[in-house]
Symmetry: C2
Subunit: 169 residues, 2 copies
């Protein structure tokens, strides 16, 4: 189960990278600097696009690391361009792709996972994954999508979900 | 695992209902009709707030029904007010609350789940949950949140995640 969630984080991040690719094409066609997207916000006191991408990747790599008893790689939070944000997404996907199902063999519902906030607190592995990492990850990935969509990038549900492994019913 | 996802759908929907409650207070304070939120969109060819709430609930109840071999209750898609949308969310939560862990005992990774679209197609239970229902559910719940947030409703991450069961680390 934990591994399935990590695989989905990787898939959604790959889809998000492709969506950023469409933002690049959109900006080229409309002749504006695609990096203008980095600072857009849905509301003045919300976090900008750059932070949405950063936090989505942070949630994914923290989940993979914490649930497998490892330390997550630190990313520097110094991206200033869409290309650098795509690089961050790809580094995160490469990290997630390095995990195998067996890496999560030791975690179970009773495993306690420390959280960075509030300090000194922990959640059970199931609460951590379902109550914190999944809603947070999808919140920030969706908000990144929404910011591009609101900026006129032509993306839809197919871009968000990516290719699903449909079979004949 | 499947049951854990259903419980999280219920929690996120309860949080969304509370967020809609804050939208009501916000509209009262600013002296505008809260139902003006029903038709707001992030971009003209995106679905309006009402549809975001409807689809989030549809994804949650379809997941609970499909993964337990049941038929999901049909909701009429006739809500025209925030109060009616809150009613829909609560009916969905009540439906989800009626499930027990044992209802998902028969489903496993090899179970095939029919999808409404494309017609005649199915996904494995794991692909259905992680690749389709979870990303879709959180996409629409997040977009509903974002629409209210963009409309000035004072909500934050605490409202989105709700109360987590923190323990001392």
């Amino acid at each position: 189960m934990y591994y399935l969630a990590i695989r989905q984080f990787a898939r959604t991040l790959k889809n998000l990278d492709a969506i950023l690719g469409k933002a690049v094409s959109h900006a080229e066609a409309r002749k504006f600097d695609v990096n203008n997207f980095c600072s857009v916000r849905l509301f003045p006191d919300m976090l900008p696009f750059t932070a949405q991408v950063r936090i989505a990747t942070d949630m994914a790599k923290a989940a993979a690391a914490s649930l497998s008893g490892k330390e997550a790689p630190k990313f520097e939070d110094n991206e200033t361009t869409i290309e650098e944000l795509r690089g961050r997404i790809r580094r995160c996907v490469a990290y997630l792709d390095g995990f195998a199902a067996g890496d999560f063999d030791k975690v179970n519902a009773k495993t306690m996972i420390k959280v960075p906030y509030p300090p000194g607190k922990a959640l059970s592995a199931d609460d951590y994954l379902f109550g914190r990492q999944l809603p947070n990850f999808f919140f920030h990935a969706t908000t990144a999508y929404n910011l591009l969509r609101q900026g006129g990038v032509e993306v839809g549900k197919g871009d968000w979900l990516g290719t699903l492994n449909f079979q004949d019913a």
